[in-house]
């Protein structure tokens, strides 16, 4: 099946393909949940792979109008959002959740596209 599936990301970003299925998530709710459900090793590997490509990824997406992004560029943008989601555990906490926030939550119920 795999070879007939359309790639999620633009061809220029094929190196990020191993992370696409897990991290191309359209909502903050999904990204935050995936962060909490991931190990630090997984998030570090994703962070290490995408941060050197992030500037190029933003440039790539900016070849299109934001409201007319093709699907693969939209996926790439969602991957950048996930990069931001994992940056807090990787850069600050050394663990998936914010320390000392066991009882707290904050749901994002309305968010802008794409």
């Amino acid at each position: 099946m795999a070879e007939t599936t359309q790639p999620l990301l633009p061809a220029e970003f094929a190196d990020l393909a191993p992370f696409a299925a897990k991290w191309c998530l359209p909502t903050e709710h999904e990204r935050f949940a995936m962060r909490l459900a991931s190990t630090m090793d997984e998030m570090q590997a994703f962070y290490d792979a995408i941060t050197p490509r992030a500037d190029e990824a933003m440039n790539y997406c900016d070849n299109f109008a934001l409201d007319e992004l093709p699907e693969d560029a939209t996926n790439l943008l969602h991957l950048l959002y996930s990069m931001i989601a994992v940056s807090f555990p990787v850069e600050c906490w050394g663990q998936p959740h914010v320390p000392d926030t066991g009882a707290a939550y904050l749901d994002l119920l309305v968010e802008p596209g794409p």
């Binding site: 934001l66 994002l108 794409p114």
Partner: protein, 424 residues
Amino acid sequence: MARWPKPAEGSWTEHFHLRTEPISYEDSISPAFYELEREAVFKRAWLNVGRVEQLPRTGSYFTKELAVARTSVVVVRGKDGEIRAFHNVCRHRGNKLVWNDFPKEETSGVCRQFVCKYHGWRYDLDGSLSFVQQEQEFFDLDKDSFGLVPVRCDVWAGFIFVNLAKEPEQNLLDFLGPMVTKLEHYPFAEQSERWYYRATVNSNWKIYMDAFQEFYHAPVLHAKQTPPDWSMAAQQAGFEAPAYMIDGPHRLVSTAGIHPWNLDPKMLKPMELLTRSGLFGPWDAPDLAYDSQAAGINPAGCDPWGLDSFQVFPNFVILVWGQGWYLTYHYWPTAHNTHVFEGTLYFVPAKTARERVAHELAAASFKEYGLQDANTLEATQTMLESRVLERFPLNDQEVLCRHLHEVTAEWVDDYVKAREQVEV
């Protein structure tokens, strides 16, 4: 050595004629006081329930659950363009008129008229009763006197307010006063990209208000959100506001800012450098043209300027950032020790993916900090309720906390006195 001059009285607290002794938090743990607050504060003050952009066209509506006042209101844009509010209850047998699936959850949408799910009574957007199922079965039913029950509603600077009093003691502009109303010169309408966060928090509503009306806590509670070089510098410096203002029941704290792009990169997180954004917002601010003096913003004339946080009594905050965006907070009490917190972020709509990514980091940072603040509240509430301690010392950078509790007590006292006079 203070970085910012204090008023001539030697402190902000004395400048505003507030007491300096330790305060009681009985007003945040007492069920009896909460019962008084419901009547004295939340059924007398103007309450912000949203913005006009949430009602873009004829028939656009949203509901707002006001558990503190034991009601729900529906806010709707009529055929004449006017925004009106009604108690969300059908005149026939008292069913909640507008809801989906779960009666206690808020909803929004667009409709031509409101139809009760129970027996199909219909109401026009102006609240008038337009259709009664099997009308001939009723006894002398005068449809004109069975319209929806109106709630006082007014709009200022695009913010929709309601007042649950039958006859509000002040109109909206008088209630808001000059410090707040000057903000109408700020370009809110241009910032229509909306991010809406919500949580139930296990603390009294004023305890969370307090958390976001002082920044004394910021270098400590949030120390690990920033690289060690930044955190150490922030803790050594402590926090001082360049200006506080009080106008009637409302408060303002202003802060100085930073230009992150001028800092040593060691002070910043790699993600901030990569996306040119952070908690304070996108580094590349949109071009918002407004007269900050006319708008009453940045009263100390800081350059760079950080933010102004307008604490609008009782439970509404407008926080305007130097980096060209704003956010609002609402704290809706549900009991003496619980409330619903809403945080809403507004940006000029992103035109490019790069701008949208910068918004994403600002919003994600807001949540990361907010989670730390929210969890601390539950820890505070439970120990306040232990009543092991009865008095708590507040410093001069916590002056706005002191003011909120004093103003709330004044409103409750006024209400109790007025009620006693009626009874005598």
